[in-house]
Amino acid sequence: MDWTYFFNEVVNNRDALLHGTAITFAVSLIAILAGTVLGIVIGIAVTYGNKPLRWPARLYIDIIRGTPVLVLVLATFYVSSAVGFNLTAFQAGALALTLFCASHVGEILRGALQSLSRGQIEAGRAIGLTFGGIFRYILFPQALRYALPTWITAAVEMVKASTLLSVIGVAELLLTTQQIISNNFLNMQFYLLAGVIYFLIDFAIEQVGRFIGRRLDQPTRRAV
């Protein structure tokens, strides 16, 4: 293998690679953050909502989770322009991943909330908390501990799913890599490089998750 040629090519294409990585990072971050917020709302609706709230939320989770992400990405891109929303490929892709992420987070949160004992809600009621307070101080902090490992997995899935945005022309890391390879034909080297970058992003997410996990497991005050 000609390492010098490869390194020269990396240096020559560094701006494109950095840009591609930044796009992948940005679109994943948007999807994870916005998807988590939306997913929490959906998870609450499906677990504690009355019928008019619970059914749409349930339907949302089942339909979106049951749809291949690629279909979701293509549908968002083409349907949005057909109905008059002129989203850029980046916007459409971020939206599709957000919707996908929300369905997973909703289902993860539902599972975690349902594993909590009913006595927790009753104890919160008994001291005079309204549902908002019970959720914020009692249910959510506990559900977070259960849900965190699965949530990290879902976040990593979002980074991987972001590669599908290459089909609608978002110049994220995979599409950028393919474009570079079409010029220099260094297939193996550049796909490996992309793989390493994806690994580093996912590794970083897992480290953040571990950090949050450790923070959550600490007692509110030190045991004496």
């Binding site: 006595g119 927790q120 009621r125 908390l129 309204t130 549902f131 501990r145 045991a223």
Partner: protein
């Protein structure tokens, strides 16, 4: 004087099944009332109606003279809003069979949560009050422990502190010792007894007949959704009038 708890013609259904079939009883200030009866007689449901953990279908529950849970709008019973329900619930303190401490919080924070978030008390003041009650139930030394680091009896004593720190008008105990190991029952009963002696108004659902006899001012015997007999413990335990109560006391050990 207005009774602390007044229950008038209380009815409660679970679907087709009527579990409370017209309950009337009162609890005066400083009074300790024990509710006894076989499983399924409706005693826990009655207790849960007193702090609106269960809805009821007919009749009234008054806490400190205030009708809870419902108000009348054009002659119709309407359930009151969530905020009002929450405020009314805080008039009573509930101790559960399964303790139901918040497992992600220290013993101290279990007690301060309601004080800061419901009563709006500043944290230093809430900690001071929580420490006072944790000390009172003998748990001050373990205030920084999580529930999982405490025995059942210790957890239940923290749960008592959590409820009583909110200064409720009446404390409700739902089989507070039923989930405990036999050797842990005594410490919790002792805590309840000492609170009773200080004049705390209490309603206890219990299977501890000896305790009910020794601590209560009044005993209520329930049978099939109704109060079959009520009165001072001496009379009920020594001279039960109804054959049902006679039979029940024969099968309960104490």
């Amino acid at each position: 004087m207005t009774p602390i708890v007044e229950v008038r013609d209380l009815h409660k259904r679970f679907g087709e099944l009527e579990v409370l079939k017209g309950i009337d009883f009162t609890v005066a200030e400083g009074e300790v009332v024990s509710i006894i009866g076989a499983s399924g007689s409706g005693k826990t449901t009655l207790l849960r109606c007193l702090n609106l953990l269960e809805e009821f279908h007919r009749g009234d529950v008054l806490i400190g003279g205030e009708a809870i849970g419902y108000h009348l709008r054009r002659g119709q019973r309407v359930r009151i809003g969530e905020r009002e329900v929450a405020r009314q619930r805080a008039m009573t303190g509930m101790v559960f069979q399964a303790f139901n401490l918040f497992p992600h919080m220290s013993a101290l924070d279990n007690v301060t949560l309601g004080l800061t978030k419901v009563r709006g008390m500043p944290r230093p003041q809430a900690i001071e009050l929580a420490d006072h009650w944790l000390d009172r139930v003998g748990m001050l030394e373990r205030r920084d422990h999580r529930p999982s680091q405490l025995s059942g009896g210790q957890q239940q004593r923290v749960a008592i502190a959590r409820a009583i720190a909110m200064s409720p008008k009446v404390m409700l105990f739902d089989e507070a010792t039923s989930a405990l190991d036999p050797e842990r029952v005594g410490e919790v009963l002792e805590t309840i007894r000492s609170l009773a002696q200080e004049g705390m108004t209490m309603v206890l659902v219990t299977h501890e007949m000896r305790f009910a006899r020794d601590v209560s001012d009044k005993v209520v015997f329930m049978e099939d959704g109704r109060i079959a007999e009520q009165g001072p413990p001496q009379r009920l335990f020594l001279n039960p009038e109804s054959p049902r109560l006679q039979a029940f006391l024969k099968t309960s050990s104490f």
